[in-house]
């Protein structure tokens, strides 16, 4: 296996992805990710010098809306799925900023 994923990397990716893995899951994730990256490294075989990265494949550009208010108050619907709410707002653990 060419790609060895370290504990730090898994820890770091967990912070980015907001996922908490058990020790067993971490070991598995290290293996899985290493194997996947080995596999993805196959792309390195291709010479892509001068190739423009293609993020959008479709022939659409300049899709705009006019600056006109179309939405009305739908707060009740919005909050209908909230795990916790108060005073018309979503309740979350205390944040500091």
């Amino acid at each position: 296996m060419a790609n060895i994923i370290s504990d730090e990397t898994i820890e770091y990716v967990g912070i980015l992805a907001k996922l908490e893995l058990s020790d067993a899951e971490k070991e598995q994730a290290k293996k899985d990710m290493g194997r996947m990256l080995d596999y993805i490294d196959k792309l390195g075989e291709l010479d892509t010098e001068g190739v423009e990265p293609m993020s959008h494949v479709f022939p659409v550009q300049n899709v705009f809306r006019e600056d006109v208010v179309t939405n009305s108050d739908t707060r009740e619907q919005l909050l209908s799925n909230a795990p916790e709410q108060k005073d018309g707002m979503f309740m979350v653990p205390k944040t500091f900023d």
Binding site: I15, F58, D67, V68, L78, G88, M89, T95
Partner: protein
């Protein structure tokens, strides 16, 4: 003997300025951007990150961004995209912010500012990009939790990133004032720092005078007035110099300025990595700015300050100083032009703006942007004075009410019975009484004390409750004496 030669330091400052655009709707959905709605009443699936919702770009946002770019001498990106900036925070409903990293709409511009020494200097603009604002977090003391309101989520912003070209708080403020004026002239934003429609983050580093390399910089947030910006710059400069003097290193970090305490503190969390994993947003189509689109926006650009100043000089016979003040804010210039258009008396309009308006603004701490009296009413007031319907001191009283409430001066004067009494008979009778009651002053006048007449005029005006034309009073007085 050791002479402690203090090192000289140079401050290097770059700004990231966020400006809330004056669109009616949000950047990616048809929700209103109006202030003051009850929490979460200006929201929809798009701006609250509901599964399955998709963004569609508000055309006005693009047009404003390009207009600001053109006005700040930027190159406009002809093939642009939006990127996702990924980070978790409750005010960010998708946990990514739609922004622009790789292909921002404007690049490589700059604006000219005047330096303290009276010279000129260009502050470079690295880029301007479009992005969405976050929602608001309210801290609930009772439940020891936070509450999220997404009314501001998705409000369009442009972020104007300068080059590290500024060297002092004065230059920073000159740059901000210049930006604000340009953007206000464009009508792209009202740029109110206090209300957060203009926000500046300060990137600051220090280096020994003459050094070629930049020092390590910090980013300061939460600056909501020019004064706070100036204090924060001074505070951070000192903090960094102290660190260096003590042989320590400046850490690259984001700091939050507490203006009441006059100090900043690091905003750090081990739960977060500053790794935003930007990538092109697959939900939005690329933006292709054609020559026609650019020309259309260019054609719509308003007259900016320099051009306006030149035109005022040519069209209106008012002093340069007045022109400078009046064109110094968009609101003032608009008021001036609109009032002149109605009454055709630039000089008088200018006098009202330069005199009473500035006085009351200072006294009541009102910004030019918040002036609320209408050009129609100012023109009416000027008309009332011209026709001698009211005298100038009554006019000032009426103006003060107008300044506060934008009342119609004609109606107001009528209702309050403030019209000048033009009945000469009544005026004569009053003056005769004043003369009879003030023999000493009459004597003084006859003995050549010119001042005495002023007292007698005053007494007459008082008796007339101010509603007399002082010129006429003066004339009759001299006649009767």
């Amino acid at each position: 003997m050791v002479i402690n030669m203090a090192k000289q330091y140079e401050t290097v400052i770059g700004l990231e300025v966020h400006v809330e655009l004056a669109t009616k709707t949000k950047i990616f959905c048809g929700c209103s951007t109006a202030f003051g709605g009850a929490p979460n009443t200006h929201t929809c699936p798009v701006c609250t990150g509901m599964p399955g919702s998709l963004p569609v770009l508000n055309k006005q946002v693009l047009e404003y961004a390009i207009a600001v770019g053109l006005a700040t001498n930027c190159e406009i990106t002809r093939y642009g995209k939006f990127d996702r900036k990924n980070y978790f925070y409750p005010d960010n409903p998708q946990n990514y912010q739609i922004s622009q990293l790789y292909l921002p709409i404007c690049r490589n511009g700059g604006v000219e500012i005047e330096t303290e020494e009276g010279g000129k200097k260009t502050v470079g603009i690295h880029e301007i990009h479009m992005e969405e604002d976050a929602g608001k977090l309210v801290h609930d003391e009772w439940e020891d939790c936070s509450l999220v309101d997404y009314n501001r989520s998705g409000v369009p912003l442009i972020e104007i990133v300068s080059e590290p070209d500024m060297r002092s708080a004065e230059e920073v403020i000159a740059y901000l004032e210049k930006l604000r004026l340009i953007i206000q002239y464009l009508g792209a934003s009202d740029c109110k720092l206090q209300e957060g429609s203009m926000r500046a983050d300060v990137n600051l580093s220090v280096r020994e005078a003459g050094a070629k390399e930049f020092g390590t910089r910090t980013e300061m947030k939460n600056l909501n007035s020019f004064k706070a910006i100036a204090r924060a710059i001074e505070g951070e400069r000192e903090r960094q110099i102290d660190l260096l003097e003590e042989g320590q290193k400046v850490v690259q970090e984001t700091r939050r300025w507490d203006d009441t305490k006059g100090e900043s503190y690091a905003m750090r969390s081990k739960e977060d990595a500053q790794d935003y994993r930007y990538f092109p947003d697959p939900d939005l189509a690329p933006i292709v700015v054609s020559d026609e689109m650019l020309e259309e926006i260019r054609a719509k650009q308003p007259e900016f300050r320099t051009e306006k100043m030149a035109r005022y000089k040519e069209e209106y016979d008012i002093p340069d100083y007045d022109i400078d003040i009046i064109t110094g804010t968009k609101r003032m210039a608009d008021l001036f032009e609109a009032t002149v258009a109605i009454c055709g008396q630039p000089k008088k309009v200018s006098n009202w703006l330069m005199g009473e308006t500035l006085r009351l603004m200072k006294e009541k701490e009102v910004d030019a942007e918040d002036l609320s009296f209408s050009p129609e009413n100012l023109a009416k007031l000027i008309g009332l004075v011209d026709s001698k319907a009211i005298n100038s001191s009554v006019a000032k009283e009426v103006f003060e009410v107008m300044f506060e409430e934008d009342i119609d001066p004609e109606k107001y004067v009528e209702e309050k019975g403030l019209k000048t009494v033009n009945d000469e008979g009544a005026l004569r009778r009053t003056i005769e009484e004043v003369i009879a009651n003030n023999p000493q002053s009459v004597d003084d006048y006859h003995n050549g004390k010119e001042k005495a007449i002023g007292f007698l005029v005053g007494q007459t005006m008082k008796a007339m409750k101010g509603k007399a034309d002082p010129g006429m009073v003066n004339q009759i007085l001299r006649e009767l004496l």
